[in-house]
Amino acid sequence: MVVAKKNIETKERPQKTQKPTIKFEGVCKIYKGNFPALEDINLTICEGEFVSVVGHSGSGKSTLLKLIYAEELPTGGEVYFNESLLNQISKRNLPFHRRNIGTIFQDFKLLPKKNVFENVAYALEVAGILDEEINENVPQILDIVGLGDKIHKYPHQLSGGEQQRVVIARALVHAPTLIIADEPTGNLDPKSSLEIVDLLMKINDLGTTVILASHDKDIVDKVNRRVLVLNNGKVVADQIKGKYKSV
């Protein structure tokens, strides 16, 4: 087992570029009246990386991700996204920050009253993209995730795997620099899970940074890329080409 070190990010690893997408400096997070969810986290994730974050429930995986899409703000330390500090992000700028990130969740988070097309289009509508562009891009992206024929279905008419593909399409459609997937396969059968992971890897091959939180050993082993192990709010291992590790 590799023991946590202060300057893990200086370790050599195969990077497509050196530009850091995310940087944590001495970050800790304490929820009101609770024990620390994260303690002294130092880490850098560079553009084009695929990072799997593993750990038990309550190890701080979700909190780590929430700090990146600024759903939570750190109690101490600094979080940088593309070299800008997220600590004091204003209410005004928060939506713009979110448009740089595609998020994928275990419970899908699709809008139930919107069909597949509208769910994906919504991510573009909020950014003020013109209708012509939306009508062109959305069917394309749905073809890519293999849902070209389900464009007018509503979420409840789809299987779990299909719903997660819609979510991925929505996360991808505005060409974000970063995709965050928090237990994306938690509600899926093994076959669908592997398909989803394949899709994430394809996205990463095209240059998008991907952060995947999971406690599914098969998934992490299949990805076979950088693995970050969290335990009790601390990074206990950071391997360049890692397999799933239980702590």
């Binding site: 899409y69 759903e71 448009r99 009253k113 003020g128």
Partner: protein, 302 residues
């Protein structure tokens, strides 16, 4: 900006149609509230109408002794017309009085026969004095009884009318008080119910708001559809309420004989149609907007 508004408006329309039952429930409650409010509005107008009608009909008649000349009466008329409190003085000659009397008693053959037997015209010439408001009659009556032409006056019928005037004033004041009290009470209750219904509607969108925020929707982009939805509720409910009001008035009108003091309710309705409709749309939309904004605060973390 225009894109945002048109998009959020379409969004509101979709929300409205896709949340079928919830929309129907909210619109029904809002319609009932607006209906109650507008009913009390119409009742208040009708009561005002009654008051005016009563004042219109009340007057003091001064009957002059038979030997008083028309010149003398005219000078009294001119004298009375100088007062601010006096709105109108009209002269009723003996002949005119007889005509009126015959007309009023056209069916009473006994009275008409006895009148013919007298042969002569037993009625007196009079001045009908109308005041600007009901409580001024007392003053006018006092002035006349103290004036120098009091000796020419045979009698005044103020004393007889006084009771009726006072009673009517009392009744009208009471109706107004009860009406305004009840109206306010019902209005507040129905507004609170509506307000709550709209909040519940928004609460059902709780998860959606969370998702919208995650995808990078600005607060205004999330809020606007709900605001527009509130306006749609307001407009639809107002139109429905106006239709119900029309039906209700139509039904009630059948039971009100046309000769009563209440003038045609339908006239009140059509006379105030636009202010009624406009007021309701304003009230309904405002309720919708405020209700949704307050409910949204919770989820937008503002």
């Amino acid at each position: 900006m225009f894109l945002t508004i048109s998009r959020t408006f379409k969004e509101a329309l979709k929300n409205f149609t896709r949340n079928g039952w919830l929309s129907i429930a909210t619109v029904s409650i809002l319609t009932m509230s607006l209906f109650v409010v507008s009913v009390f509005f119409v009742v208040t107008l009708a009561v005002d109408d009654v008051l005016q009608n009563v004042q219109e009909r009340v007057n003091i008649s001064i009957y002059f002794k038979p030997d008083v000349t028309i010149e003398k009466i005219n000078s009294v008329k001119a004298d009375l017309e100088k007062f601010n409190e006096v709105r109108m003085v009209s002269y009723v000659s003996k002949e005119q009085a007889l005509e009126d009397f015959k007309k009023n008693n056209a069916n009473e053959t006994v009275i008409l026969q006895s009148l013919e037997e007298i042969g002569d015209n037993p009625l007196l010439a009079s001045l009908a004095v109308k005041a600007n408001s009901a409580d001024q009659y007392q003053l006018i009556a006092e002035y006349i009884s103290k004036s120098d032409f009091n000796s020419d006056v045979s009698r005044m019928n103020y004393g007889k009318n006084k009771d009726i005037i006072d009673k009517l004033n009392g009744i009208i004041a009471m109706i107004r008080k009860i009406g305004i009290g009840l109206g306010l009470l019902f209005t507040i209750i129905s507004l609170l119910v509506t307000f709550n219904a709209i909040r519940i509607t928004i609460y059902t969108h709780k998860n959606e708001v969370e998702i919208m925020r995650l995808v990078g929707a600005s607060n205004s982009f999330i809020r606007l559809p709900f605001v527009f939805e509130g306006v749609i509720y307001g407009i639809l409910s107002s139109v429905l309420s106006m239709i119900f009001l029309f039906i209700a008035i139509k039904a009630i009108n059948i039971y009100i004989p046309s000769v009563t003091l209440v003038s045609n309710l339908m006239n009140i309705y059509s006379g105030n149609f636009w202010s009624l409709l406009g007021g309701q749309i304003l009230l309904g939309s405002l309720l919708g907007i405020i209700g949704s904004l307050i409910a949204m605060r919770k989820y937008l973390k503002v």
